[in-house]
């Protein structure tokens, strides 16, 4: 890591009268400018501009403390420090192999003008693509342990921005996105009608989740989120629909408190990413840069991969997670009577292992392998699952041996039914079991109401729980894929074994839920993915006519499912459909076999939230490029220049395109695969069907290119 650190202590002085407080301090980088000032009441205030245009108008900052004087006013600045950092670092895995961390930092040291004289630092980092800031509470005699009752951070937007939002909810991020102006935000209907989400607790109708994506009337793209969420509850935003002011709203615990902390400490970073180009938002590394470096020293065991799994067949009704009809369906011998539809049985698992081995897919996930699924959901029960006890028809010894012989790794599944206390009790035992049987990854799940009861998925206690799981997993050299956790905030930099989260509306809602509309995947990268990878489970080829669930369907073409492997970044990617469905389209499946999961470089070629995204990525350690293009419900013609290829080099491009008559509604599974010689001068002309996409693999020309035409 190359680190250029310039530390300039600008001033360390005390204002003696409030008049001095009105002098703003300015810190810029390229087009991004931060202004900081104290208002007449001693309230810290900031504003952000992009290219002289206001992004955030003067907005107040501060923290409220339970049963104590608020840390939000009556302050004076006692000193200011400025620093510039320009460094490079290499993620263990990621969208690029090298990340530049370049910012101008300013720290304002504040002291409260009362007897306690409490100290608060506010630290801003100004990047070329936005601003991050956080509150830091120095060690001080008059403030040790305290309870945050509220955070009053404001984001006073400059206009009635177009916004891509989901309801603020303490327990879920799995709502579909609504596109509306700020003035029109009201989550009530969405919350009430989303009966496909198990637990919904929305604080009020003007609450929205972050990452919140916006576009100003002037065409600026703004994204508000947070980075490095630890020891604090998740930030939601409360919307004032008339003034366009957003205010931080923290997820409460059972008692309504927001965080329990003690000095010295700091909050997570509040992030505002801004650019006049939508593609810049997707390429921003600001959130990762605001996270701490890896706490795991030896990362050699952390390996991105693709996997298949016994899962979608349960989602679509071909089989079940549970082994028996009910927990009390027991025979005279006291044993559970099999229901005959249990998916996680040895023979079926071996079928998936065979498919994975045959097609070079590294991993096999099995859900419903362990006791507890008969009465697992909705009972708010403390102990539901054993994480070391397979169902009678899941022969863990035999499966372990079979997978090993076939060169496939098994992926563990630990659904906790949101009983986090019980999972913490069993975690060591569970991870030792994984070590014993050679499982190198675990998919966790938190479906239901949280235990400790009264806590929420996105509250401080659970925020720390997910980190504890990642840390404990790391001790056992296990990679983590957490479903239904708080949405990510870049912690994958600090815990690179935390490969992915769900924490968003995945492909599965096309099965059991009200579905994901074609625009969904053109919004997700601007929202949910801003914080980190998602286990979206793409790759559904049989997009309708599921075993059960009449009328349910995937709202894309088959080709768009391929494109998602590139557009939706994750170091673990599931090929989510059933082997028998892939076997009907093995030429299309070739793309999933080929596509990378770890990258040296990424270029977002075209993007507009809610409309389309086209992304090209260079596979790590190779010269292979993969392109994914997705569109919303409208078809789209697009030209993709391949100018990122090495000059003067010939490549073979395989283009997986929607058939000319393809349409997500009427003809979703129609596709056409063509192969061409391409080079850096090539401009690919893509035609995306309504709800469709395009997927392209580009490889260095091999010896045998005879018969392959040059693209023109």
């Amino acid at each position: 890591m190359k680190k250029l650190l310039t530390c300039i202590i600008l001033s360390l002085f005390v204002f003696n009268h409030l008049k001095a407080q009105s002098q703003p301090t300015t810190v810029s980088m390229n087009k991004v400018k931060l202004e900081f000032m104290m208002d007449a009441d001693g309230r810290p205030t900031y504003a952000i501009y992009y290219d002289q245009k206001p992004v955030i108008k003067p907005s107040h900052l501060g923290i409220k403390i339970l049963n104590d004087v608020g840390m939000d006013s009556n302050f004076v600045v006692t000193g200011t420090e400025k620093t510039t950092v320009d460094e490079q670092w290499k993620p263990v895995w990621g969208e690029v192999s090298n990340i530049r961390n370049h910012y101008n930092q300013v720290t304002f040291h504040l002291r409260q003008q009362n007897k306690a004289g409490r100290l608060l630092d506010i630290v801003f980092r100004v990047f070329e693509d936005g601003v991050g800031f956080r509150y830091e509470f120095p060690k001080q005699n008059n403030l040790k342990y305290f309870i945050v009752s509220d955070e009053v951070t404001e984001f006073a937007l400059a206009g009635n921005n177009k916004t891509f939002w989901i309801p603020g909810d303490y327990d879920t991020n799995e709502y579909p996105y609504t596109t509306s102006n700020i003035s029109e935000i009201n989550n009530q209907h969405m919350v009430n009608s989303s009966d496909d989400i198990a637990v919904r607790v929305a604080p009020d109708k003007y609450a929205v989740q972050t990452p919140l994506m916006m576009k100003t009337p002037e065409g600026l793209y703004i994204n508000i989120h947070e980075a490095a969420l630890v020891n604090y509850s998740a930030m939601q935003l409360h919307v004032d629909t008339s003034t366009y002011k957003l205010t931080a709203s923290l997820v409460p615990d059972a008692l309504g408190n927001k965080a329990y902390i003690g000095t010295p400490c700091h909050t997570p970073w509040r992030t505002i990413i801004v650019s006049n180009k939508a593609t810049d938002i997707l390429e921003s590394k600001m959130i990762l840069n605001l996270n701490d470096p890896s706490k795991i020293e030896n990362t050699s065991w952390i390996k991105p991969m693709k996997f298949v799994g016994v899962w979608w067949e349960m989602q679509t009704g071909k089989s079940t997670w549970n082994y028996s009809a009910r927990a009390d369906t027991v025979g005279a011998n006291g044993l559970l009577i099999p229901n005959g539809t249990h998916g996680g049985n040895t023979a079926n698992v071996e079928r998936y292992i065979d498919f994975a081995a045959k097609n070079g897919i590294q991993g096999v996930l099995v859900e419903g392998w362990n006791y507890g699924w008969e009465e697992w959901f909705g009972n708010w029960k403390e102990h539901v699952f054993s994480f070391v006890t397979p169902y009678p028809d899941f022969d863990v010894d035999a499966i372990t041996k079979y997978a090993k012989a076939k060169g496939v790794v098994m992926i563990m599944h630990n659904e906790t039914s949101a009983s986090a206390t019980d999972y913490e009790r069993q975690m060591d035992t569970a991870f030792r079991f994984m070590n014993k049987y050679g499982y190198t990854s675990v998919k966790t799940g938190y479906v239901g109401r949280i235990i400790p009861r009264g806590e929420h998925h996105d509250g401080e206690w659970m925020v720390n729980h997910y980190v504890r799981v990642a840390e404990k997993a790391a001790q056992y050299h296990i990679m983590l894929d957490a479903h239904e956790p708080v949405r990510p905030t870049g912690l994958q930099r600090t815990y690179p074994n935390w490969m992915a989260c769900e924490a968003g509306r995945g492909n599965e809602y096309n099965a059991f839920g009200h579905g994901n509309m074609p625009e969904h995947e053109t919004i997700m990268p601007f929202t949910r993915f801003m914080g980190g990878p998602m286990d979206y489970t793409p790759g559904i080829f049989k997009v309708q006519d599921f075993t059960i669930l009449p009328g349910k369907r995937v709202h894309t073409t088959l080709v768009k499912q391929l494109a998602l492997y590139v557009v939706l970044y994750s170091p673990i990617q599931m090929a989510a459909d059933l082997p028998e469905n892939y076997e009907k389209y093995m030429d299309a499946f070739q793309f999933i076999k080929d596509v990378g999961v770890d990258w040296d470089d990424t270029k977002v070629i075209a993007a507009e939230p809610g409309d389309y995204i086209t992304t090209a990525r260079k596979e790590k350690g190779t010269e292979n490029w993969f392109i994914g293009a997705v569109t919303d419900e409208n078809g789209r013609d697009e030209v993709v220049p391949l100018d990122f290829l090495n000059k003067g080099t010939q490549y073979v491009a395989t283009i997986y395109a929607d058939a000319p008559d393809a349409d997500w509604k009427t003809n979703p599974e129609a596709y056409k695969i063509t192969t061409y010689i391409v080079d850096a001068g090539t401009k690919l002309k893509l035609k995306l069907a309504p709800g469709g996409g395009a997927a392209i693999s580009i490889k260095l020309t091999t010896a045998d290119t005879k018969g392959i035409k040059k693209y023109k």
Copy 2:
């Protein structure tokens, strides 16, 4: 175990009209009679009589379910079953070596007269010393998992009983007792003034804890408590001071809910012990009988014992738990700077080991041995202590070796600061550490506000936590002494490694608190001890002039401290004072060396709550008897016939008596030791000083009795 089981199915019929509901069913044993009937609204109703006198007037029964129809009315009886049980069983340790469990049981099968037709069984067990009853929810289609929002069990007392009560409080049982009539109960002043109790959460001013001891105007003794508290929150009693009706009031969780259960299930037993003799209340085994037999098969490793410990010296200010002044008192090397007053240091611990070894005391407890004590209290912090990291001056290897060489066992201390979630995370590691270093017992502590935040010490989640700790400890062959848990309900029968609890106002309040008045120990056996043993920490010889704490003192004579080893039953008993204080009175300390901790037999010779108790116990496996007599602030002359001794056998009795001029206030440490030959015909004349007592050891005559006079 001898088991005589007579099962008589009396009737299985359905009442067709409410008129039939008014026929009471009666079940009796000796003087105790239960009546059960359904009132006109289909509410189950019971009454209890003793010798024809009403103890509990007709009182309603039932459970309220959250967001559902209450299970408290609209019932009909669909069947009644009666059974008689008369069996004997042997506790692993206890006040007697053989316990008779003899009761008449009646089960009422109820069905609700509505569409759901829910089923509820109410089971009564009528003993010769009282009644236990519980609610049983059979497996049924229309009731699976549910949340108890309230229990409406009533105890309509027949009169304005004299009552020995402490405030109902969700988090503590450590209040001093108030003696008043029911009509005068009001806990407000006591709750407000008890600033010596760290966490106090009293639901309302008419709430009292159980065990609740009462005496009727007619002289009947009544005790209300519960047995086998698991999977449910603790029952408190709400007092109607005008009607004398008590109503069950369950401790809520963070959301106000009382219990999360699922059919088939049952509540704990509600117990009413009654007799016209106070001594019968103390000798009752009803609560133990209502608990399940031991779940631990091999109990050979469970061993009652006496112990000393590095503890009282911290309570009295000679030394400190913490090693450093503050958590941030660190030197240039980053290590804590010692404060010079740390009690748990190797040299000091070895001093206690020496004292224990020299005097045949089996165990040595050390508090403040592990990291975390600098900021342990009152911060509501999730992670405070490491349970495997000794302070730098506590050489665990050396101490382990030293203790082993001296034949002494070390007792572990795990103060959790009430962060139960964190303790559950560390428990396996902590117990493995104990196994490694040969610790066979652990004293746990729960000082502070509970985490999970919003839970209470006496709520369902914590109730189950304590059981989890006992179960986990048993897996590691570790005995448990839990401080600040819910008060016991006889679970020591089921988990015989759960030796004792604090859960009451111990001797320590004479140091840091407002003290325990002389009557305190004459009430405790009738209240706190009804559920099980308490680690009261008797044996303070230096009753005043502590290192710090001016004006604080123990409110007894020295001799009364000796008597407590017999009067207050526990299979683990601390000799709580400092070695240097014992060394001044080694002739008196001889009683502590001699006294048993496990018993073949117990005779309560005289007792009146609030006034006096005299108890004789026969040490297990020997012919030695020990007698303890305690009185309140009034002196007392008492005659104790030794008719329980073997007829025609001579014993040597050593009598530890208050000196003639002894008085807890003015001359507490004056005592006189005399030795006599006694036999079954002897009638000992004891003179107890105000706040005093007497302690007597009686052993079979040895060869050398020359010079010992016969008692007359």
